[in-house]
Symmetry: C2
Subunit: 302 residues, 2 copies
Amino acid sequence: MARDIGHVAVVGLGLIGSSVARAVKERLPHIAVTGHDASETVRAEARALGFCDRIADEAADAVAAADLVILAVPVGRMTDAARAIAPGLKGDAIISDVGSSKAGVGEALRAALPDHAVIPAHPVAGTENSGPAAGFASLFDGRWCIVTPAADAPADAVAAVTDLWQMLGAKVETMDAAHHDMVLAVTSHLPHLIAYTIVGTASELEEVTESEVIKYSAGGFRDFTRIAASDPVMWRDVFLANKDAVLATLQRFNEDLTVLQQAIRRGDGAKLEDWFTRTRAIRRSIIAEGQDDPAPDFGRRH
Amino acid sequence: MARDIGHVAVVGLGLIGSSVARAVKERLPHIAVTGHDASETVRAEARALGFCDRIADEAADAVAAADLVILAVPVGRMTDAARAIAPGLKGDAIISDVGSSKAGVGEALRAALPDHAVIPAHPVAGTENSGPAAGFASLFDGRWCIVTPAADAPADAVAAVTDLWQMLGAKVETMDAAHHDMVLAVTSHLPHLIAYTIVGTASELEEVTESEVIKYSAGGFRDFTRIAASDPVMWRDVFLANKDAVLATLQRFNEDLTVLQQAIRRGDGAKLEDWFTRTRAIRRSIIAEGQDDPAPDFGRRH
């Protein structure tokens, strides 16, 4: 049986936080939503956009009536955010978050708020845009939200967080935090690291100008620039928080890249063709699972 | 003054060849289009789709009346294709192609057809799909087509190829073939190699199942699977044909990746944030240049 949630507070009103607030307002109109952001500029923008019932200037004030608090700040700021809300929390308020790494965040939140049910969560969704204007209510439709409660987390609090995400359109999976961090290192963190790297590499070559890179980017490069346009502070924190899993998967990637590099150098066409044939099947599975658009070229307009 | 083109032959009727045929039929109805493909299955499919005036069973027959022949076969098959069309060519027929690497292709075509004007070209456009059904007439709209004639190529033949691509919707740039190969190594070949690598890496880890990789791919990984679904034979040939430039840019990429790897290991957040902030600007330039969709997430449906 899930705890009843009549009031949600969202702390951090960027892409994800503002999307949560919009989705709650649109789909769960009986739930009150209060918002807060540490930035005065963001608070003013959020007030103008009107996706919360109220925007509080102070974090502790924002959470005062909340049954569930969702921290949507970069993972490096979770402890600060938890300390800021602590004085205002109701005794039975559930604490959750939306961070992209979970083991460290869970520990930090449990340490900062030892008297509260901490139910970490990660909606695997987003765009390359940032800030309160970038959010939208349908962001979580059909996407997975991974919930990583500690073994002794109260079942009614886990159920409340699970139910909320399902009502916002997501599919929910429960997972051990350490395993989440390994899975996401592969499906999200390593891809971001690689994209950030190649975009940096391409923009600093002597033989090829930046203008040429931009003009001829439709050959494949432009795909990487979307991810490499993601929020720098958020991603800095993800790599620092999930260091071990990221470095472990990066080592596997480097081994594989060396194998293909050698195949190219030796002119081993059979090895290349075999590898490229195997990778083709993965995309078909992703589309079959509803995790990407079946339209060619992501449905870009031609 | 451009040579007059009243008849085009397209040899190789996959994504690019069939898109050329469709675009000519749709936009230049006064030009006759004959097609050929070495595969009987593809010829039958092309006949059923009807995007050429005629599909010939023999390459030499397909080109018999052509003022311009466009070879749209994998770059490793250019010499074979040139030999196959040679017996049927009119004396003043212009030979062009659509290959993704240009120095080797230009040499191969000039060697195989020494009496003809060879004007290599590369439309920087495509999708992850292959085959005659995957093509569409608007594929080249607003994309760049790079023409790489030898220094002594006849000006009227260069003009004819340039005019055709412009009439098919492309913007045309003329470039030295070796420089083309360096530019495309960065903007297309290296991105494909990296995408093929990471998709292979992710599908063969012990700690994370393929099912998990697919489910949580919306965190970034799915973007790479599009490119890694591209035609395996075409890409095998590109890497073999443009080996030197690909290996040179790969070395730069590896250097940069090592720098970021070290920053993560050392916890150097400032270095990461600085890098990620610089890469963000590149995407804005690509969108401003009309080379990608300004909609978030490539305009994917949410």
